[in-house]
Amino acid sequence: MNIILNIYRVLLLAVLLAIWEGAASLGLVTEFTMSRPSRIFAWLGGALVDGFFWMNILVTVRETLLGLLIGAVLGILSGFALAQWRGAFRLLEPFIMALYSLPRVALAPLFLVWFGIGEGSKVALAASLVYFVLLLNTYTGIREIDRNLVNAVRTMGASRGFIARRVLLPSSLTFIFAGLRISIGLALIGTIVGEMIAGQYGLGQMIARAGNMFDTAQVFGIIIVLAILAVLASEGMKLLERWVMRWRPTTETH
């Protein structure tokens, strides 16, 4: 079933690329603005045997994963803490919502000043995007918990730490993973925007340079690589989720 579906997907992609290529050959779209698949793949073919391109991929992947990890860990811990101390959440809620709603890429210039022009500022920007999503999701996950589940374990004489570990954490994992799935895209946005604004390396920096030179084939080529990275990261996250939540009904699908 899945094999057939995948064949159709590949066919659909091939048809779209053929139309694009054909339109470019017939002059229906300007090659200067839209490039064409054959040129994009020719550029990719060259870039993939080039150490420089791989080094940039590695930089972007490293920044993204580090930003994801730092943002997620801090976000989950903060969400947990705020769910325990409701008073603190009520005090901080307007500030959290203000920061959450703020387009955090606007913070990029500040992060450049604070964390330098290197990888630090990109990691910080990615983490700042991830942090609030995980904070709010973890907080909601713990708020939505079945109170009787907590009460039942309380009557066993369990400590708060035991309840946090055995009840609150597992129960909020659904929300945490929902946040993590969104966060892959957010971390990539943070990293790429950070690289585009300033820096030396990374796929964002390459896109910025290629754009300045009107090298649309290269821009498309890098976008394809980014799309593949995003898909790989999402699949990896799905596998992690399935493993962590292996207690769930096997019939359940997402």
């Binding site: 009787n148 009460n151 009557t155 066993m156 369990a158 055995r166 129960s171 207690w247």
Partner: protein, 256 residues
């Protein structure tokens, strides 16, 4: 009488909100449960029966009054008081056996085969490695019963534990509970709205009034132990008690 009470509830009351529009949920509830007694509370919905159990277990503080276990004030989270909730409170991410082990781990006790033994005793030994979603409603209740016993409590608080089960499953698990309790010497405070359940299980039935809840009447159940449910329902004393309870309960329901 007072000295030998296993569980003692003294002048317990609870108000929600403290102005004149506030709601009085419980008004001066007094109970004494003897060691090894099976006592049931029946009453109209919303009369505060479940709230009473929550107060005894220390899950919320009362407005007034105090509860005692063996003459000592009850503190929240005492493992010697076991609580079985109306809803399913098995942890979905743990297997049946892990769930039964939970009360041991909560207080740092080691499981030396006790938990699997308990699962076998309640008839679900073959499902030790199953997750709750793989179990039927009746099986889940059995696992919860095993978990309750694993806690090694002295007093059981049971809040309509079998309310959501179908009639046949309910009868089976009631027999199971009787069988386990008769050998255990446990003191049980059981809340239900099912009069036949109240009569067939308990030594004493307390009838709660409409809100604000308090003990309105008290009935001794004159049926011999050990009991078996088929025999009980044919007993004329059972029918007589059922009718008396129902008449009195009906008045309270019409008031509420």
């Amino acid at each position: 009488m007072t000295a030998e009470a296993k569980l003692r509830v003294e002048g317990l009351s609870l108000d929600f909100g403290n102005d004149e529009r506030g709601l009085r949920v419980l008004a001066n509830v007094n109970l004494d449960l003897k060691r090894g007694e099976f006592c049931t509370i029946v009453g109209p919905s919303g009369c505060g029966k479940s709230t009473l159990l929550n107060l005894i277990a220390g899950l919320m503080p009362p407005t007034g009054g105090q509860c005692y276990l063996d003459g000592k004030p009850i503190k929240p989270g005492m493992p010697s008081i076991g609580y079985m909730f109306q809803s399913d409170t098995l942890l979905p991410w743990n297997t049946a056996l892990e769930n039964v082990r939970l009360p041991l781990e909560a207080v740092g006790r080691k499981d030396e085969g006790l938990c699997l033994d308990l699962l076998k005793r309640v008839g679900v030994g073959d499902f030790a490695d199953a997750y709750p979603w793989q179990l039927s409603g009746g099986m889940k209740k059995r696992v919860q019963l095993a978990r309750l016993l694993a806690q090694q409590p002295e007093v059981l608080l049971m809040d309509e534990p079998f309310g959501a089960l179908d009639a046949q499953t309910k009868l089976l698990i009631q027999e199971e509970l009787l069988r386990l309790w008769e050998k255990s010497g446990l003191t049980v405070l059981f809340v239900t709205h099912d009069l036949s359940e109240a009569i067939s299980l308990s030594d004493r039935v307390l009838l709660f009034s409409a809100r604000p809840g308090h003990v309105k009447e008290e009935y001794e159940v004159p049926l011999a132990r050990p009991r078996n449910i088929e025999a009980i329902v044919q007993d004329p004393q059972y029918n007589d008690l059922f009718v008396r309870l129902w008449r009195s309960l009906k008045e309270e329901i019409q008031l509420s």
